[in-house]
């Protein structure tokens, strides 16, 4: 019995010591945020376990996305060429213009459903979302800024000369625990925001979920035509198979060779990423160089002007050997009607993705 009492005392000492070691209740770190995969979507490609979403991280990413501080002139942000109303494209711009109105060589792609991208940009030169922002920031015709300079500018906020003085050290602290600003944190915050930019609430999605009345008869005809003629490349719920293909466009003056610049393989000449068609009704102009201004022109290309070059995608060669896809005028109208059901009004209006008031879109 004495031994038991001794042990009990020991255990009490032991426990009380442990109690003293227990952390005092303090303000917990950033607020975790759940990322929800839309019904019927595949698993995301981006590894969220390396960069779990938090309210503060996403908020920081949104500020960075819209802030012109990312550019040399402090005027061009991501949101300049990726505008929400146009499903985060540069509506009306065949080619986007960056700092000092310098003109790019390609049409700015939609920023949506990035979580599922296996590669980024028209040529797939970047394979990881965290490495995406380096490209537009450092491109001389886009933001023309070194990321290292951006980090320095962020550290020196709030700046009295800024239109809206944002305190980035404080925002980094809220998102990551300390006010250290480095490239990993900056890119991860931007990725967190981009991970939330999901478009999955178009009329087509309601139809997909079981609402047969979400599409009209013509749209349903269009869907059938789409599945027959387009869905081998514009595949599945994401409307892309993420591959690179030559869809028979006549090269422009600058002879952009697309994927070839990345792989150096002759078989990749003139190949470009198959873009998702979600929100395609909102993202004119079309193709990697924005050469077509309407969906009618796009379909006319596929029926009438597909160029037979050595790397032309074999899916675009009919059994007769004729390049292109055979579609009647009525069929084209049905297809276009269907494509417009992919417009996601909720996505382009959602205030979660909107400029928090620091943007410099022009």
């Amino acid at each position: 019995m004495n031994r038991l009492i001794f042990l009990l005392t020991l255990s009490l000492i032991c426990c009380s010591t442990a109690e003293q070691k227990a952390p005092l209740p303090v303000k917990t770190g950033p607020t975790p945020m759940t990322w929800t995969k839309p019904a019927g979507f595949p698993d995301p490609v981006y590894d969220l376990s390396r960069n779990p979403l938090t309210e503060e991280g996403v908020q920081l990413g949104k500020f960075l996305f819209y802030d012109g501080i990312l550019s040399r002139t402090n005027l061009v942000g991501c949101g300049t060429c990726h505008q929400q109303a146009a499903a985060f494209t540069h509506h009306g711009h065949e080619l986007s213009h960056g700092v000092d109105d310098r003109l790019g060589v390609r049409n700015s792609p939609a920023i949506q459903n990035m979580a599922w991208n296996t590669s980024f940009f028209w040529d797939g030169g970047v394979h990881d979302m965290d490495l995406v922002p380096f490209n537009p920031i450092e491109n001389p015709v886009e933001m023309d800024q070194k990321v290292v300079n951006v980090l320095d500018k962020l550290r020196n906020t709030p700046s009295p000369t800024a239109k809206i003085p944002v305190n980035y050290p404080q925002m980094f602290k809220a998102a990551f625990g300390t006010d250290e600003i480095n490239s990993e944190r900056m890119m991860k915050a931007l990725s967190q925001f981009m991970m939330t930019m999901i478009s999955a609430t178009s009329r087509y999605d309601y139809y997909r979920a079981g609402d047969a009345n979400a599409l009209t008869a013509q749209e349903k005809q269009g869907l059938v035509l789409f599945q027959k003629n387009c869905s081998s490349c514009h595949q599945g719920v994401l409307f892309t198979d993420h591959s690179f293909r030559n869809n028979g466009l006549l090269p422009m003056r600058n002879n952009d060779q697309g994927r070839f610049a990345i792989t150096g393989k002759p078989g990749d000449v003139y190949k470009f990423k198959v873009p998702s068609l979600r929100n395609v009704g909102l993202t004119a102009p079309y193709m990697h160089d924005g050469r077509y201004h309407t969906l009618e022109e796009v379909l006319d290309h596929y029926t009438d002007s597909v160029q037979k070059t050595p790397t032309l995608d074999t899916l675009l060669i009919q059994s007769s050997g004729t390049p292109g896809i055979a579609l009647s005028g009525t069929e084209k109208q049905s297809l276009i009607a269907f494509l417009k059901t992919l417009s996601d009004e909720q996505f382009i209006r959602d205030s979660k993705f909107a400029d928090p008031g620091i943007g410099t879109a022009f």
């Binding site: 590669s119 970047v126 920031i137 070194k146 990321v147 490239s183």
Partner: protein, 275 residues
């Protein structure tokens, strides 16, 4: 009494658990046979042009194509360092500590200090010129220090943002045979073999025997292996002589040509002495 005994038993159990977790030190893994608290070994990368010292921006040199040139920038990555002991066993520098950026304009960068090197006599070294494909495709948290894609304030970056990957060797300069706009030439050689499609791989592994010499790492001695790195060998190789007149710019867009330079620069290292 029985219930009190039960209470004691529970308390004992709780106590035992606490004791186990709070008082015992975590079981340490058996010490790495290759990594005892060791010494240091230094590799010096001394950039030269033939038999002359490399001086940036002022001295004119000549390549085998008889073209004059002045070097304005010479940077390269050294990684994956391994050292061979006299007994034939190999010490591999831990991966995360095995990336170095050597720059002609930064003297300190030319002295690569390897830490925790086991005490032994070393007879050979092996290293990669460039950055291996694993690290080239690693997540951003694995890209610290010289591998930070944002570079540093002091240099102009060794990372391609548009075709994600590191530049392994960057040689820039001026020449009467340089490009017609500003008379410069630019050789930015990268390409690690592709992320999911095989592309050109310009990483090169250099094996450097110390010959009759040895580098003895002891408690008191930090041996310095002095390597000469000859810029001429970037131009002039066993199979190809690169002519500035023919190629004033070789970067990621000319994979075949960049491959020829890579097969040249693998030969630019030679052992001068060890002290």
């Amino acid at each position: 009494m029985k219930s009190i005994n039960q209470y004691f038993a529970t308390a004992l159990a709780v106590c035992a658990v606490f004791l186990l977790f709070s008082c015992s030190t975590p079981v340490s893994p058996s010490p790495e046979p290759d990594a005892p608290a060791g010494g240091k070994l230094r590799l010096e990368f001394d950039n030269v042009v033939g038999d002359k010292n490399l001086v940036l921006g002022s001295v004119t040199y000549k390549n085998a194509s008889n073209e004059d040139f002045v070097v304005t920038k010479f940077n390269y990555f050294i990684s994956n360092v391994k050292l061979t002991k006299a007994d034939g066993s190999i010490f591999v520098v831990p991966q995360d500590s095995s990336y170095f950026l050597v720059k002609e304009d930064t003297k300190t960068s030319q002295f690569v200090t390897l830490n925790n090197v086991p005490f032994a006599d070393y007879t050979a070294a092996e290293f990669m010129v460039g950055v291996d494909s694993t690290r080239n495709t690693a997540p951003i948290e694995k890209r610290q220090g010289v591998l930070d894609p944002s570079g540093s304030m002091m240099d102009d970056g060794m990372y391609w943002a548009w075709n994600s990957g590191y530049i392994f060797v960057k040689l820039e300069g001026t020449s009467s045979k340089g490009n017609p706009v500003n008379g410069k030439f630019y050789y930015h050689i990268g390409l690690f073999g592709g992320y999911n499609e095989r592309t050109v791989n310009n990483t090169r592994v250099v094996k450097m025997s110390f010959g009759q010499l040895k580098a003895s790492v002891t408690e008191s001695a930090v041996p310095e292996v002095h390597l000469l790195v000859d810029v001429l060998k970037v131009f002039d190789g066993p199979s190809t002589n690169i002519s500035i007149a023919a190629y004033n710019s070789i970067m990621g867009g000319q994979p075949d040509k960049s491959q020829q330079i890579a097969s040249n620069y693998v030969n630019m290292f030679s052992l001068d002495h060890i002290h």
